[in-house]
């Protein structure tokens, strides 16, 4: 297993609320379109903001922003703005278009955090993906996503500390998660208070 080194990242986990239940009720012919309408557009939004989509996992999109040692603030700002756009686009574009073609309403939930990750070649035989992004930040962001209510956004303490004041003022501390038996603060981001540009 080759390690290509450590890098700071912002990782965004976005998925469709209750997708398993929804898909179980959908005709098979409509299932691919249900995932496609959400995942394709999220890929484009993340790319537009300078991030990249790490990999699709069912209804889940994992977006990653690499943070350089200098000039890190614009990347942080782009990543949180990206999250707000994902939320708006899902609510005002993806879901209405889905309903217009007889698909169910789509709500997303987003968890995100900032931290150090390792780029590693796992080298599992028969699996084409050559590099994986590993690290606590990936697990923490996924865990935070699990605490988000439908349509909501939650972020971890480390990401919160890096945010611009405009966004910090939208944050409200919610119940912490436990990481390695230690409490880790989580914040709900109330984008309803702004319609940002």
């Amino acid at each position: 297993m080759a390690n290509h080194g450590s890098i700071e990242i912002v990782v965004i986990y976005a998925d469709i609320v209750s997708s398993t239940e929804i898909v179980n009720k959908l005709p098979e012919s409509k299932i691919p379109l249900f995932y496609k309408i959400f995942c394709n557009e999220l890929y484009k939004i993340i790319n537009d903001f300078g991030g990249f989509v790490y990999k699709p996992v069912g209804d889940e999109v994992i977006g990653v922003f690499f943070i350089p040692e200098t000039g890190w603030i614009p990347i942080i700002d782009n990543s949180i703005r990206c999250i707000s756009y994902i939320r708006y686009v899902t609510k005002y574009v993806i879901s209405p278009i889905a309903e217009s073609i007889s698909l169910p309403k789509i709500q997303c939930r987003i968890g995100a955090d900032y931290g150090v990750a390792q780029i590693v070649d796992i080298g599992v035989e028969g699996i084409k993906i050559s590099a994986e992004i590993l690290g606590n930040v990936m697990n923490v962001a996924a865990k935070i996503r699990g605490k988000v209510y439908p349509g909501g956004v939650a972020i971890g303490q480390k990401y919160y500390e890096q945010l611009h004041t405009d966004y910090k003022l939208l944050c409200k501390k919610i119940n912490p998660i436990i990481i390695n038996e230690v409490k880790y603060n989580v914040y709900h981001v109330n984008f309803d208070n702004i319609k940002n540009s």
Partner: protein, 99 residues
């Protein structure tokens, strides 16, 4: 919890070229007053973050400000429309995607 990387957002109060100088300008900024407040702690000035309850003694603040020397002003090369225009662009993309 130890803070690995800190951030103080400033608000520009004044920006003006210095008359008669070559490429010099004067800029005055303060830590964003929505969250930062100048207080006195044990007889010494300090910046207090009302939101995060963080206190930065003026001595430490001055040291931090000096580290700004040589740091470039960084502009993002990512240009994304405002949300209203972006929603229109996104709507077009999604409709094409499902058609």
């Amino acid at each position: 919890m130890k803070r690995e990387k800190g951030r103080i957002d400033f608000v520009i109060q004044e920006f003006e070229p210095i008359p008669g100088s070559n490429n010099l300008f004067r800029i005055s900024m303060i830590p964003d007053p929505r969250v930062w407040e100048l207080i006195e702690e044990d007889g010494k000035e300090a910046w207090y973050n009302k939101l995060d309850r963080v206190l930065i003694p003026m001595e430490e603040f001055k040291k931090a400000v000096k580290t700004m020397d040589g740091i470039p002003i960084v502009m993002s090369n990512v240009k994304v429309e405002n949300i209203d225009d972006y929603l229109k662009k996104s709507e077009k993309r999604v409709k094409e995607d499902v058609s």
